[in-house]
Amino acid sequence: MDQFKHILDTFFFAIFPYVTIFTFFMVTIQRYRSKAYTYSSLSSQFLENKQHFWGMVPFHYGIISVLLAHFIWFLVPETVLWWNSIPVRLYVMEVGMFIFGLMTFIGLLNIILRRRNNALAKIVTSKADWVVLGFLTVQVVTGLYTAYFYRWGSSWFAASLTPYLWSVIKFSPDLTYITAMPFMVKAHIVSAYSIILLFPFTRLVHALVVPNPYLWRKSQVVRWNWNRKTIRNPKNNS
């Protein structure tokens, strides 16, 4: 039994991560190079505009904030622990993140109901969309469960999961902290890897082409099919 558990842990926490990350990079890059046309958020607002707001807005605000928090916990664990060393600050962090988690959940629920019940939204719902929504639900539910029942996530994440994630990145996965984790936490991690695996094959790629250059580009865009300063410059014709 223990050995079986060990095999499972090794597979999900020491092998699976590499499969997903490798696939993620290979396929997203290849897809961008050969089929850039398929990179789109595939908005369905045109067809259904009433429930749309109540799904998209809470979901995206929620998930982007939560993801950002995870990144911070992962990148600067010491700072997080320092922040959390004062209880009030810890509560603010935990309650705040829980609210964002709930927002994500409510948004997700609305997205699912919209796609299930609205005839027009259904037309543009693919099987891949359902897989994505399914995994996201598992992700959010396990996340909320963990946050609620195993407090204080932001502290123990920084203390135990961050070292694990770094060990994965350094190609020497260290499962010491992982094996003892409760089922829900493990499910949360495995589901996260699965979503990374889903990225290149689904609409999730839209999150990778966030149009940040808009913030600093000039407002008008002109494309030239030739260099106008040199094309008819007599000096070039000699």
Binding site: Y37, L42, L47, S126, R203, Y214, I231
Partner: protein, 496 residues
């Protein structure tokens, strides 16, 4: 000076017969695919009317175009910071209800129906869901003033009229209408381009055609709100926005765009305008009533030595300059000043200009007979059936003087032609009227010819595109020649 060349257009509204041939020509070539059925890159509206999509001119609702805020040009619908919130849910995006649900008919039933007492019918089916549907609206539901209590009366340009003027407009004996064909204006200060977070929309440097890069579009939908003319459309099937491409593959091979080529009323003219790109922002910042003049000011004289020299420095070829000199658009817009931009107050500097309609005729019904309001042939336009104010709201940025100028000139030319051909008006008096309308017999002759007797070659002066030179910059043209046609291999498939 930064001189650029722009393929520009003139539509002569007095000549439009509202046949929709242009729309069909466009539909058959470009928007006959799944997800594009509802799009009409070219559509023809009846004015007064609410248009397509319904009430597109209502910028309080759709927030299209630019506005001047403390002397700065700002997009109404979005901005760099607002994009962050609008990207998930666009609050001013028109949706299918604002256009219409496209449909076809189940024609098969006509053949398969069992013999019976009644004629079989072909029931309408939605081209989106494929289910049976009740048709509630179409793209030109208000054609020829049909349903005018719902449509024509809600025309936003009527807001400038007094209640009395409005009532008169809809009194049956004064009823008036005209057609308003629309395509993308290929603006010089396009708000669609400025709004796109991905930079998918762009203006082609060499000819000013505004295009939407299908590979770069990510369905953020900003352009749909930002274009005040509602000439970018969202393809719900591919998850990409699309727009009028001015048939650039035709233009590059010397042919007029399909809607121009097929136009039954021959209302459409196409040619090059040269303009100074350094002046774009400054021009767009003028107050509403100065915008028409400011835009004309930005357009340069292709015969001016200095302009020619600067244009050449900017890589504009001799052949393009020649086309600019022969451009019918230059004549209508700049030389004669009788073509005006639509809704110039949106500040996108549209490069499609309209010769406003003189019709409907200046007559009213009295009892059983029709009486001409003006017994003379030199009418008083303030007594016209179509209030000048209404036209000024569409074509003058609210400035009535432009409309007066155009209508006066046109009617003087008519009277002059009548004097020459029918002879019931004194020629001298007609010539006097011409001068009063800032015209002269020579110019009148030219306007008359380009309006009434114009051939294909007169209407469409298309400059060579010099694609061969463009290729030379990048690779060996002989090598390229063997590869032409193998550029874009992917079919436009919806992503997963």
């Amino acid at each position: 000076m930064d001189i650029r060349s722009q393929i520009s257009m003139v539509f002569h509204l007095d000549k439009c017969i509202g046949c929709h041939t242009c729309s069909i020509a466009c539909k058959n070539i470009w928007t006959d695919r799944k997800g594009t059925e509802y799009m009409w890159w070219n559509n023809v509206e009846t004015k007064p009317g609410t248009g397509f999509p319904t009430r597109w001119e209502d910028q309080d609702k759709y927030k299209g175009g630019w506005e001047l805020v403390d002397g700065e040009l700002k997009l109404k619908s979005t901005s760099k910071s607002k994009t962050i919130t609008n990207i998930f849910h666009n609050p001013t995006m028109p949706t299918m209800d604002d256009y219409y649900e496209p449909w076809s008919y189940k024609y098969k039933d006509l053949f398969d129906a069992p013999a019976g007492d009644d004629q079989p019918t072909a029931k309408p089916i939605s081209m989106v869901t494929g289910d049976y549907m009740d048709i509630e609206a179409g793209p030109n539901w208000d054609d020829d003033l049909s349903g005018s209590p719902i449509y024509a009366e809600n025309d936003i340009n009527l807001d400038v009229l007094s209640d009395e003027q409005r009532d008169q407009l809809f009194a049956i004996e004064r009823l008036m209408m005209f057609y308003f064909p629309r395509i993308c204006n290929h603006c010089v200060n396009p708000s669609c381009v400025a709004s796109c977070p991905s930079g998918a929309l762009y203006k082609r440097g060499e000819d000013g055609i505004v295009l939407l890069d299908q590979e770069r579009c990510r369905a953020w939908r900003s352009c749909i709100s930002a274009c005040p003319y509602k000439k970018t459309y969202y393809n719900w099937n591919t998850g990409k926005s699309e727009k009028c491409i001015l048939c650039f593959p035709r233009i590059e091979t010397g042919q007029a765009p399909a809607c121009f080529h097929s136009c039954v009323g021959r209302i459409r003219y196409l040619g090059v305008l040269l303009y100074d790109a350094d002046k774009i922002e400054e021009t767009a910042k003028h107050p509403d009533h100065e915008l028409v003049d400011a835009q004309r000011e930005m357009i340069l004289d292709p015969f001016d030595e200095n302009v020619i020299r600067e244009a050449k420095k900017n890589g504009i070829s001799e052949s393009t300059l020649k086309a600019a000199q022969e451009s019918p658009v230059y004549k209508f817009v700049k030389e004669w000043g009788i073509a005006l931009p639509p809704h110039v107050e949106y500040r996108t500097l549209p490069m499609l200009f309209y010769v406003p309609p003189m019709l409907p005729v200046m007559s009213a019904q009295e009892g059983d007979s029709v009486r001409s309001i003006n017994e003379e042939y030199f009418p008083d336009f303030d007594k016209a059936r179509v209030p000048i104010k209404y036209l000024a709201s569409m074509f003058g940025g609210g400035n009535e003087s432009h409309l007066r100028y155009v209508l006066k000139k046109q009617s003087a030319i008519r009277a002059y032609r009548r004097a020459l051909t029918v002879g019931d008006i004194d020629v001298l008096e007609a010539e006097k009227a011409l001068v009063e309308a800032d015209c002269n017999p020579e110019e009148a002759d030219k306007i008359y010819k380009l309006t009434s007797l114009c051939t294909f070659e007169d209407r469409f002066v298309i400059p060579p595109s010099h694609r061969e030179e463009a290729i030379e910059m990048m690779k060996d043209p002989l090598e390229h020649k063997q590869e032409v046609g193998f550029g874009f291999n992917d079919s436009p498939e919806r992503g997963m």
